[in-house]
Structure formats: structure tokens, C-alpha cells
């Protein structure tokens, strides 16, 4: 287990990566050196920023560089992500991490990442690490429309992987969903992150093909470190379990899939 730290991190670079998505890099060696793919951080602006939303927000670690940089892919949803998307180089962000249980990569199977929307974020880190270890890794990335697609050039640069892109309206990449027309003949390990209906469809797919699947789930969080019990999801045993410490990555069989 890693021990999370709390640190002010200097914003080094921000760039608009699509209509409503930003790529933000911060200087954060103490978290970078411990981080593992699938883990997340809580990002906030601290106690004295009284104009900002109060609580920090959870974000997957999207990249970790040897020089101590962390990268985050941030999509604007509401007031919290709006505030965070407005940071500029030189600003400081309060970062708590690394948090949560990472993906467990199978030693022998190829890895197929199923990314729905901003659920792409953890797979940038997974892709880069797997590529570095010369693993067979594929990233299937879906968005509703072309204008939301995170810059494919940046995906290639961060991960070294050529993404298999899909849009629901076919305006970019293949038309369809991330679970459509997948080549699963090499019996890969599946990793998925995205909206709930997509995760349910992935769980269904994994069951039908008898493939191992890990999912990264999202739930509202208070503390991010396991104290408030705010972030629970229902386990297959019918218990409420904390997604910040026992997740956010779960084996799909550990969870009850509500419809």
C-alpha cells in the first residue's frame, strides 16, 4: 500500500484538448514516484479559496513522467471542474494522492482498455506503462461526437499507442460503441472506465466471452481516503463498499450490477 501525501503542486502546462476537455500537467514528484495506473488524486484549491467550490474533486492520474510531472485529463461538468479547468501555468493546486487501488495487469494476456469519454484518463497511464514494458496493449476510445474527442496526437504522444477511435455518430473514427466489433480472439484482459451503462455493457461482454474484466467506477466523494464512507458502491455480496479505498478499480465480479 502507498501512503497518500498532501502537497501543493505547481501547474506547468495546460492545454485545451477538445471542446470541453483540458490536459493539465503539474509538478508533483512526491505523488508521481508512488503512482500506479488506475489510481487517482483529489484536486482542489485549498481552504483559503473561498470563491471556489469547497470540496476537492477526484481525477484519475493520466500520466506520470520521470521528472515528477503528473498529467490529468479534465472534462468540464459543473462548478468544480469549471474552476479547475481555469488554472494557468504558475498556479498551485492542492493534490492529495496517490489514492485507491490500481489496475492489476495480467502477466500473460494482452490488455484491452475500453474507454468511454473522459474515462480515457486512466488508460493514458496504463497505455504508457504497458508500452514501456513492451506489453501488447490496445486502447478502444469512444465519444458521442467528434468535437469531444481528446486529441489523438496527444494520446499517441503520451502512450505510444494508436487509439482505436469510435464515435456514436461516426463523425470521427469507426461508428459505434467501444464494445462493438472487438477482436477478442487473443483472449485479452479487459479494463473499462466510463459511464455506468457502458460499464454494464462491458460486464455483460466479459461474461459472455468469459474474459477477465476490471472496471474503474465513479461515485461522489468526500474525503478520498476512506474516512467519510461517502463513496460507496454495492458489492456482489450486497454490502456498501468504499470506492476510494477498495476501488476505484474493481474486478467486475466484485460488484452488483444494477440496471
Amino acid at each position: 500500500m502507498t501512503a497518500p501525501v498532501r502537497v501543493w503542486a505547481r501547474v506547468l502546462e495546460t492545454r485545451k484538448a477538445s471542446g470541453d476537455t483540458f490536459w493539465i500537467e503539474v509538478d508533483c514528484p512526491s505523488i508521481a514516484e508512488q503512482a500506479r495506473p488506475g489510481q487517482f488524486v483529489m484536486l482542489g484549491t485549498g481552504l483559503s479559496d473561498v470563491a471556489a467550490p469547497l470540496l476537492p474533486r477526484p481525477f484519475s492520474i493520466g500520466a506520470r513522467e520521470a521528472d515528477g510531472r503528473l498529467g490529468f485529463l479534465l472534462r468540464v461538468f459543473g462548478a468544480g471542474t469549471q474552476r479547475l479547468s481555469a488554472v494557468v501555468p504558475g498556479d498551485d493546486l492542492l493534490v492529495l494522492g496517490p489514492l485507491g487501488r490500481p489496475f492489476t495487469l495480467s502477466p500473460d494476456r494482452p490488455i484491452v482498455c475500453l474507454a468511454g469519454g473522459v474515462g480515457l484518463a486512466p488508460f493514458l497511464f496504463v497505455g504508457a506503462e504497458a508500452k514501456r514494458d513492451a506489453r501488447d496493449v490496445r486502447i478502444v476510445y469512444g465519444e458521442r461526437t467528434a468535437d469531444r474527442v481528446f486529441d489523438p496526437e496527444l494520446i499517441r504522444r503520451i502512450t505510444g499507442v494508436e487509439p482505436d477511435l469510435r464515435t456514436e455518430d461516426g463523425s470521427l473514427g469507426r461508428r459505434g460503441l467501444v464494445i462493438d466489433d472487438l477482436d477478442l480472439d487473443d483472449r485479452p484482459q479487459l479494463l473499462a472506465c466510463g459511464p455506468d451503462p457502458m460499464l454494464r455493457a462491458c460486464a455483460d461482454l466479459a461474461r459472455r466471452h468469459d474474459l477477465p474484466l476490471q472496471v474503474s467506477v465513479e461515485e461522489h466523494m468526500g474525503c478520498g481516503v476512506g474516512t467519510c464512507q461517502g463513496c460507496v458502491v454495492l458489492s456482489s455480496e450486497g454490502e456498501w463498499i468504499k470506492s476510494c479505498t477498495e476501488g476505484p478499480v474493481f474486478d467486475a465480479r466484485e460488484l452488483a450490477w444494477r440496471t
Partner: protein, 308 residues
Amino acid sequence: MANLTQQLLGVTFQSPVLLASGTCGYGEEYASLIPLDEIGGLVTKAVSLEPRPGNPPHRVAETPGGMINAIGLQNVGLDRFRGEKLPWLRENLRSARVLINVVGHSAEDYEAVVSGLDSDEGFLGYEINVSCPNVKDGTLFGTDQQALAALVSGLRALTDRPLVVKLTPNVPDIGVYARICEEAGADGLSAINTFPGMLIDVEARRPVIGNVSGGVSGPAILPMGVYLTWRAAAAVSIPVIGIGGIRSGSDALQYILAGASLVQVGTALFVDPSAPVQVQAGIAEYMKRHDVARLADLVGALTIPGRE
């Protein structure tokens, strides 16, 4: 550094700043983030006789200046608390004080938890939670004067450890409830727990919180907390612990001047785990600037113009 110690509940607190129940788990989760043994202490998550499953999600959401939660007192229950959680507190907190937050459905439940814990080591005393808005009957004891008196005197007969009662803000006159606790043998009071509230997702036309309603905490409730602390402290001679929306030394000093001997920091921990240390430093800086030697000199030191 100013002398932040406070004498109460039969012991010395090295600082007046404690962590509030439900926001610091059982301490261990914050071990790498908060120098726990350098603050005044902490109050554990509520402990009930049986484990409680808690409420469905969403359990937390944000509201301007605060948050709303409906955890439903999910906790490991008395046996696992004694076996798994208390030993860690015993080993790791030497100078900081531990209060155990206790809940129950009935007086017998509360009594069973207190008797089950009383001979264990590793904590100072109890904070009796009669004020949780997020479970059925959660505020029953906190709003029924007879039931409250009976509960506190029943618990008093069971333990010689400090007994602090955590009051609900949802009563017309908190002073009445404060006095009932004092007369029934309580050693101190905590004021306050969260306010009931509700948020609606207008797009979905559904409540945001799985439990429909929840408890509101954070900076937004600070003025209510200060007011109720002031009212409670004026009604009794036992010490009061001020809680609600504290995120700075000056917030804490509002409670102290209103009559609180100690304070608790809750929601602010989520914003920044260094909040309790910042609050402590802020109080020390104030004492230095105002040349105050002992923190006790500030407790209730409010002056109201025209009423000196």
C-alpha cells in the same frame, strides 16, 4: 508558540483542536496526512452495538459553502471496533485524546456499547451522539427531554469516564437540552451536529442524496454553530466543545469566545487534511498578537457592547 493547553474532562488537552466524528474515520486513514499526535485529539466515527450497513448512494454532495451527507452511520460495530480499530488508536495516539462517538437505537444499545468498551484502554471517554439526522430515530434522544435525561443518567451510572453529549441543533432552545444533560451527569457537551437538508437534481427531478435528505455541514453552518454554542455554554457550567464549519484559527476563536473550551474540525479536513494544524497555528498566532498567556482566558471572553 503560545500555550494551547486546556484542562478539562479530568485531563490536559495539548491543543483545543479535535477532529470531528465521522470525518476522520478511526484515525488510521489519516495517519500519513495529519500529525495526529500533535493535535488535541479526535472523535471516532459512530460506534453502534451491531455493524450498520448505511444508506444507498449518493451519500455526499456539495452545496455552496458546505456539503450534505447521509452516510447512515455505516460502521463496523462494537466487536470489530474493539478488535481492529481501538488497538491502533491505543498504539499510535499517546498525547492526543480520543473520544468514542456512540450511537444506538435504544437506551439499551447505548448502554451495551459503553459497557462493552469501558474497561478497554486507548481512549479518554465518550461522545454520545443523540443527534444524527440521517437515520430513522437518529435524533429521537436529542429532541425528547425525558428520553434524553433517562439516557444520560443511565450511562452515567455505567461509567466513570468523561461523558460528553453531542447536541442536535434541531430544538427550539438548545439551553434546555444542555441543562438536562448537565443535571443527568454529563461532563461536557458537543455543539453541534449537522442540520437536516435536501438537494434536488432538477434535470432528473430526483433527490441528489440516496437517502432523500441529509445533514448539512461546512462553513455555511458556522454562524448557527457559534450561536448555539454560545446559547449552550451560557446555560451550563460544564465545558462545551464547539463544532460547525471551522476552517481557520479565527473560525475556532469565534467558538472559543462564544464559550467553547475545545473545538472540532470536520468538513474542512476533506478540503485540506492540514486544516487542524492550520487552525492550531491560527489560534497560536492570535494569542501571541493579543498577548494572551492561557487559552482558558479566551473561553467565553466575548464582550457584548452595552451588556458588559
